[in-house]
Symmetry: C2
């Protein structure tokens, strides 16, 4: 079996590097055919690694990324563990990178340090969302990397996500463009142009425009959008789920009678809650580039990091990058 290398930025996380070190150690112990290059404070790492492992290499880097900035040159001018991780990904030609740091910096660095896939104009930020009613997952792209877009970005992302979905989830996804109505004449021009073009594409299962309800009830597997709409959709959905949960908890805790009801429901509610727990959902991909690039949640603990490492392992074992390249090549041939 091929030896795969994952570069792992341990810093830039709300829990400092301790949780990331735990996850790296556990993953490396169990997966001898994977090499981890972990980037962070060497002393902290050595102090916290239970033992030395042959397949863990430590790179010393002690700076976190500067607070988010619109200025890409500023981000690149400051040494940080995230930037070191991207440099190593490039220099060593590693297979994948994982970080839980600031999304905007992560996206900027990736776009600059990693080559784009052929015929892909821009990488897209792509979280994997749980479905409310179904057991399947939903891909949303772009969730914030590209605020202003052109219609061809949306077309390219639809094709890319189709290949991704088939490679990872083993069946053909239903693909829609997120819009404020399902009628072809609605929404911004770039969406309407992409919609017309994708309707003619016989290589994908394209639904047309979809609304938030369609996604929430499970009528689509891949949601294509600009980063502005996608980001707002994702955050609104997440925050509504979280806050209704809080309101419900307040109701449960408000009186004895309700507390009893809470105990009766506990098992089933916990199951529902776990489905939406970011630790079980996995990291978000930055897709459209020549590497597997995964951004874990900023609050990630060891369990969440381990989930993200296993997510990368699964993608590598399923030959994700080769599948994407082949699929894009075939589709582009057909289109010609």
């Amino acid at each position: 079996m091929k030896n795969n290398t994952i570069v792992f930025d341990l810093l830039n996380n709300d829990n400092k590097e301790i949780e990331a070190i735990k996850a790296a150690y556990e993953f490396a112990s169990k997966n001898s055919n994977y090499s981890l290059i972990i980037v962070g404070n060497q002393k902290t790492i050595e102090d916290n690694l239970p033992s030395k492992l042959n397949n863990i290499e430590i790179i010393n880097s002690t700076n976190i990324v500067k607070k988010p900035s619109e200025n890409i040159r500023e981000i690149l001018a400051h040494e940080s563990s995230m930037l070191s991780a991207f440099d190593i990904l490039k220099e060593r030609n590693a297979d994948a990178i994982l970080s839980s740091g600031d999304s905007a910096s992560f996206i900027s660095m990736a776009a600059l340090k990693v080559k784009r896939l052929e015929n892909i104009s821009r990488p897209a930020f792509m979280p994997v969302m749980p479905s409310l009613y179904l057991d399947s997952k939903i891909l949303l792209l772009d969730a914030g990397a590209n605020v202003e877009i052109k219609s061809n970005y949306l077309e390219e992302w639809a094709i890319l996500a189709d290949a991704f979905y088939k490679s990872i989830f083993k069946h053909e996804p239903r693909i829609g463009i997120l819009n404020i109505g399902t009628e072809d004449y609605k929404g911004p021009l770039a969406l309407r142009e992409a919609n017309e073009s994708l309707k003619k594409n016989k290589n994908i299962n394209y639904l047309g425009f979809i609304e938030p309800e369609d996604i929430i009830v499970g009528n689509a597997d891949v949601v294509v959008s600009d980063g502005y709409a996608g980001n707002l959709f994702l955050k609104t959905l997440e925050e509504t789920v979280i806050n209704i949960g809080k309101v419900f908890k307040n109701i449960i805790m408000s009186k004895t009678k309700n507390k009893i009801a809470g105990l009766l429901l506990k098992k089933d509610l916990t199951k529902f809650k776990e489905k939406f727990d970011y630790r079980n959902v996995g990291g978000a991909y930055l897709i459209g580039l020549e590497k597997i690039i995964v951004k874990a949640h900023g609050r990630s603990d060891a369990q969440a990091f381990l989930g993200a490492l296993n997510q990368i392992k699964f993608a590598l074992e399923n030959n994700l990058m080769e599948n994407l390249r082949n699929d894009l090549e075939q589709k582009n041939k057909k289109e010609e």
Copy 2:
């Protein structure tokens, strides 16, 4: 007391006109100083009105609006009760209009038939949303009337909604622009320009950019956005609330133990559910025009219509239009 006139389009509703007739009758019986001009099928109205009332005038119009179309000329070329209602609003110089028909048609007709307020470039669709944690209401504008915007629309809407909020809710609102981040450099150009301008405006309590979480947890009273983002935010929020409710109901009904818990929680959950019931939330305003223009929910029943009529009554009694005009005039003077 001044006699106010409300034009009420009874058709274009999922429940046909019966529920609207009930609401019109109840409102007119109780409010002798209000005149209602109701537009719909004369025979159906006469058959269903319990008795003749002096302050109800019937206008016969039997066509619903054609299915939504991007072509404004097409909408205006077809006689419909909604179009008749707008014509009457104009001809009789009535004070307000209410309809539960197709939003896109409603907005197009209003924009063409009703004069704009001074210094307002475009009307905005403005639902009044319940707050998850607080008892206060949140105004969202624009929720879908203007997909493509200029920065000055956002600035004008912020000023307009400030005046509206003070006139109806009697205190100064906290105003934010919905964006994908709170940093000044984030999001589309029009938002950034409006943000810079509003930060300098000393006449309103402007918070800067806000994210979905800020709205959901109750950190803002007025949310300004383009119609694309506003519509997606509103629909995502609504559909998430509705569908989590359904998932929860499924959990309750899945076994005896959970059914018992459901009975224990029933009273408190019903209270929560009622807060978000569209019948209690009221209609959405189309704001920025020289009349009170309210769009009720497409599924409105008698209770919802009566709520919308009382909402209009409240606005009239609080001299909403005069307050808006005066407030805009003063603010524009100060700005000069």
